[in-house]
Symmetry: C2
Subunit: 381 residues, 2 copies
């Protein structure tokens, strides 16, 4: 993974830096960081001639595809924020509007299925934009031969999730494709919510000194789905964290008006969210590895899979950037809610090196946590 | 097709009816119609254990799936109208909200591609609800290996269609599935519009004496896509009618305030729309076959394919039910617009037989036009 390679370069550059280097000349470490920064500022182009799984993984390739293809084609100020939900001025009010397609495999897994995932995921994109979720649209792409009993199970689970999140599915569509042109059932949910609070959340409000908070243990969903595929001979007592987060968000916003930004940590995990924040806000995010809540079963599975839990998808956790002075109040409010019992401050925002996420490892070192390259966990949501 | 079989029964029943039957006893024709009606009122259940292509065709099986699975699971008054768009009371205004997944094969065809289809289709669902289309969300499900050049072509075409329809794509999502789990590119577009006019359109307003209007020649889109597959050795100079209809709808509503209902005639064609209207309004719809505008190339291709143009999808035509007294004004207003040049009155609404669509054929006979059974044209949109 490039993140590791970048970290290696930076480590090596730092190690090779002579203690007596001339003032004014950038250190090798600074040069490496400068090259990374320059590469990031380049106008994005998709180099591949064909779509790869990495383009759907939420990391570097996804980002490039979105910027080079979709933002280029549809360019407008609302889309260009690339927030979890678009904020629309409609009929005298502010609406949040968001869409997500769900292609998780398998369709059913411990703790959930594609149905509640599709409801909760879209509810959460609305919630982290500060909106109260109201209505959902649901589009189904079914594969010929898909068992009707499975569809009934999925819709029952969507209905239960919608009730729990207090939203209504008000419109929908169904298409059927021939055998071998789908994978049972894909669901696209689109949500509308209303912004009732005066808050404006976003990377523009993030500043050095802010605290970085996660609302609970990370990686449960991604590891659960990976294990549910049965391709690995690992058994772990773990289930998806899929849950609607609007209540938890509401509790947080009541307790800490100094919340700068909220993002749910789905595809690409917490590391991807933090990279997007660091880049968009032009700040550094410094994470303390020892402070990141990860269940032992997730840590164990990730070690066997050779992946970093920071990149693993959650479906019921968010990252909050909060005024440093309100960090403890924020965590206390989250911990008072059943879905935020293990909320923790995992790091802080610094001025430099702008655009990067640094991890202070348990062994006392520091490495750059870059955007994900490739797709270690395809079709996790 | 059951529509033909039903017509046969009815014809046979009528032929067998003795002229001197006892008063008070239902005629055999009435008994047939009664049985059809009784079957229609039955609580819907999906009899098949697996999804078939017919469940996505927009006809009888689609209807049963929607009623037995989706409406049952998500039951609420907004969804239960089963209109093209849900009407939401949000922030003091009335919003229209609609979603459609597009799985058309091939992706590119004369006159359009999946991109402009996905924009126009959703714009039209908003337009026929009387709304001004404002914003779109776009979800892409891409198959690993899909050419990036094709994706760029699709997004360029979406952007052009969005500009033409004066809507903005403000949010989106991309997922990638493995080779053999998709078919290049599926697009789900969800639209939000605002209801600015005081009109309320819907089957509840339809009454005997109303005129039935189509906005142009029918079946162009479905036949074009079918021929573009190249499976048939037919050449025809024909292209898709895909177009945004909000301007045409606006012109119609300005000219004829007595518009009762508008529906775009996509999957299942004009026959399906009329059946849904007849059933929802509890009226009969009587269509004059000779008055239905169909291009000769479409008639010819349909004869070779053995399908009735009344069931073939359009992507740029709507059906309007209009106060009979305003029918000529409505048609004149439509014909003044480039997208309504061949608009025509094709029939009228009658009180009986409630729930049925009758076709007065060019040969002077009358037959029942039932909901479509099976899927003669899979993946047309």
């Amino acid at each position: 993974m490039t993140s590791e390679r970048t970290a290696e370069w930076a480590d090596r550059a730092a190690a090779e830096a002579p203690a007596d280097r001339q003032p004014g000349r950038p250190s090798p470490e600074q040069q490496v960081l400068h090259r990374i920064e320059r590469a990031r500022r380049r106008r994005p182009t998709v180099r591949e001639s064909r779509i790869t799984l990495a383009h759907g993984a939420g990391g570097k390739a996804s980002r490039t595809l979105v910027e080079a293809v979709f933002v280029e084609a549809f360019r407008n100020p609302i889309l260009e924020t690339l927030d979890d939900a678009a904020v629309l001025a409609v009929a005298g009010g502010r609406l949040a509007f968001t869409t997500d397609s769900y292609v998780v495999s398998p369709l059913f897994f411990p703790g959930g299925d594609i149905g509640d995932l599709a409801v909760n995921g879209t509810v959460n994109d609305l919630a982290v934009s500060g909106a109260r979720p109201l209505y959902l649209a649901a589009g189904f792409i079914l594969e010929e031969g898909f068992p009707v009993a499975d569809l009934l199970r999925i819709t029952a689970s969507m209905a239960a999730a919608a009730q729990r999140a207090d939203v209504r599915v008000v419109t929908g569509d169904t298409k059927v494709v021939q055998r071998g042109r789908g994978d049972g059932c894909y669901v696209t949910t689109t949500g509308v919510g209303v912004l009732e609070r005066p808050v404006t959340l976003g990377a523009a409000h993030v500043r050095p000194g802010d605290a970085v908070v996660v609302s609970g243990p990370i990686g449960d969903h991604g590891v659960t789905v990976m294990l549910a595929r049965g391709e690995l001979d690992i058994e772990a007592d773990i289930s998806s964290d899929t849950a609607p987060l609007h209540g938890l968000v509401s509790a947080l916003l009541d307790a800490a008006p100094g919340v700068r930004l909220l993002r749910d940590a789905t595809r690409g995990g917490v590391a991807t969210v933090l990279n997007e924040v660091a880049r968009a806000a032009g700040v550094a995010v410094v994470v303390d590895e020892a402070a990141v809540p990860v269940r032992p079963a997730v840590t164990g599975a990730c070690e066997l899979l050779g992946i970093d839990p920071l990149y693993v998808a959650c479906e019921g956790r968010f990252v909050a950037v909060v005024d440093g002075a309100q960090a403890q109040a924020a965590v206390a409010a989250l911990r008072d809610h059943p879905l935020g019992a293990d909320a923790s401050v995992i790091g802080h925002v610094a001025a430099d090196p702008a655009g990067l996420v640094l991890l202070r490892t348990a062994f006392g070192g520091t490495r750059v946590v870059d955007m994900l390259v490739g797709d270690p966990l395809p079709r996790i949501c």
